[in-house]
Amino acid sequence: MKAKHQRLVLIGLAVAAMIGAALLAMSALKDQAAYFYTPSDAIRDHVEAGRAVRLGGMVADKSIKREPDGITIRFIVTDNAATVPVRFTGITPDLFKEKSGVVAEGAFDASGTFIATNILAKHDERYMPPQVARGMHKTESLVR
């Protein structure tokens, strides 16, 4: 093989690998990317049941209820404009409490309850997920 040919083959291989990787990434992204919703967005867009999404907002005051099994809780996520009931089985994070920010990962069931598989609370007192802050800000200005 001539030097020039070898270089061309190498470049061809590299391009093919990159295109393959890009296609793989695109198809995986289409299936796996989870969209972020505030309660208002979720209700307006009618998120289909079973689709993996993230739900962000505040835990409504006095809404955390514990089921008899001791490990399942129900609570309500609000953005001051709409509310969504959430069910979660597991140990809630350390900073999960009423009237503070939360992001729940999971999917809606047929009845409109959000079944959370994972709960992310803010890491410290100074921190609120910007997506939540922005979502809240938007509804606040809408309410006003």
Partner: protein
Amino acid sequence: MIAETGLALLWLAGALAALQLLLGAIGLRWQRDDLIAAVRPIAVVQAVLASLAFALLIYLFVTVDLSVALVAANDHSAKPLLYKFAGSWGNHEGSMLMWVTILAIGGGAVALLERRLENRTLIATLSAQAAIGLGFYAFLLFASNPFARLDPAPPEGQGLNPLLQDPGLAFHPPTLYLGYVGLSIAFSFAVGALVTRDVGPAFARAMRPWVLGAWVMLTLGITAGSYWAYYELGWGGWWFWDPVENASLMPWLAATALLHSVTVLATRDGLRAWTVMLAVVAFSMSMVGTFLVRSGILTSVHAFAVDPRRGSFILALLAIYIGGALALFALRVGTVREGSRFDAVSREGALIINNLLLSAILGIVLVGTLYPLMAEAMTGEKISVGAPYFNSAAGPLALILMAALSAGPLLRWRRDELRSLAGRLALPALITAGALAAVIALAPGIRILPLLGLVFAAGLAAASVAPLWRRNLRHAPLFVWGMVIAHLGVAVSAAGMASESAFTKERLVAARIGESFDVGPYRVRFDAVAPVAGPNWTAVQGTLTATRGTTSFALQPEARSFWAPPAQTNESAIRTALDGQLYVVLGNPDETGRWQLRLWWKPMVTLIWAGGAMIAIGGALAMLGHLLRDWRGARRKEAWA
């Protein structure tokens, strides 16, 4: 006075960096040897000044000087000494000062130690390093002054995020930064060699130890960070595909590709342009990582501050350095001569496959990490890309990479025969088939990715020690040992990952005192809950007794409440056995006196980090081996002369 001295030292170091760049550039352009002679000493003095400034910041933190804004915001007099010390880099300004200090020390080390590189290339390298340093000095002095005063001084500091109050914090950022900044040296070497048109085997041999050193540090940093997340977050996971984790993985992937291609360049004088390109990409990934982590664009424990000005400053630096290096590359790539040729079936061929796969994985991780940011900036849509994407897209490529890795080291340089390769791979192939049969027989329901992970790991383990077969072990060079250990580490780590994801047993229960639960091979009894206190926290501590056969031991998970700043953390209790780990987290109590408990049995999970450590040790041995051989070679040459 100390804070002002620190600031003055920083200004001085920044000025020296400017001088270093200027003298180097002028000296090279107009062939002024008198100017060039000053560059090396300046680089060393600059490193000393930056180190002194950083030492002063640590001193301010240890003595809790609350008249300094940064100390007041992050320190606390009741904090244990180790965290006062480590807290000095547990914040934005301090960590950037550490970054710039390591950058300066890297440049100083090159100036002091590098003897093999052609002098003009070395000067160009040091000038490039000074150019990078200059940008970060400016960032510190104009946008993130760590020594700013606070008047009046508050009576007490605000303390450090409790999640960061962990011995891991003392070591994780410095090792990772050594890796990031080590790649800056590779970048400067590449720029230097492009400037003086000196891309060749001698340049590659000089660059290789620096690349290996940076890569070893990155490996250690990632391994330690993964273990920190595993035991400190109490979620039982060891990798979350968090953007910040990806920010450290991307430079590692690029550096892994680079250290293999630099070997081709050093040994066979091939892949010249590609190696230079990878050196640029690797440091670009470090910069992208720094931008992601430090700009506050991400929400995570690493995002210390949200300040858009800082984000744009780092983004501008990123654009200048990467853009500048790529422009230089485009201008000079024509002058990089064609390297030697080789057959498709050869060690070089296998290393090209390695490089392509690593680049593809890097691309996938980069897309998944940046896509949510792009999508939000473009369309306002908020998207999160998590583990399912990364596992399904990068997982298959990682498996192919493991297969290529099994064959690569058994191939000869330049030209080889597929038939003789098949002979050398016969035993590993047999072991792979045996592992496949064994796993399917023992765990029929196993998912495809963990199954292939275990099977490929078995084959790779056998293949990676093959280069030592029928060889007098005492005469095998040190760098061959390094390669074998690092490749074996990949197999060990992959086996741990596959085993953890396939065979983990989890129990989530609401437990009364005295109740027992089975998890994996253990029976765990919930004995008691009692309050305990530490230096700056109080906690509820559970006591559990785990029994397996005739042995039993106590486990004491805690739920800690810190008061400065007020926050809670879960301290998991972990017991390591030979075949895995028992992992217990104490949750919250309910009204009826039951406590939430989460119990995991994770078979072979420790292999993940053991493998990571092996990879790092292998890299360190390879670095040492190459240095020793080059040193002996140099002495022999002298003896002949």
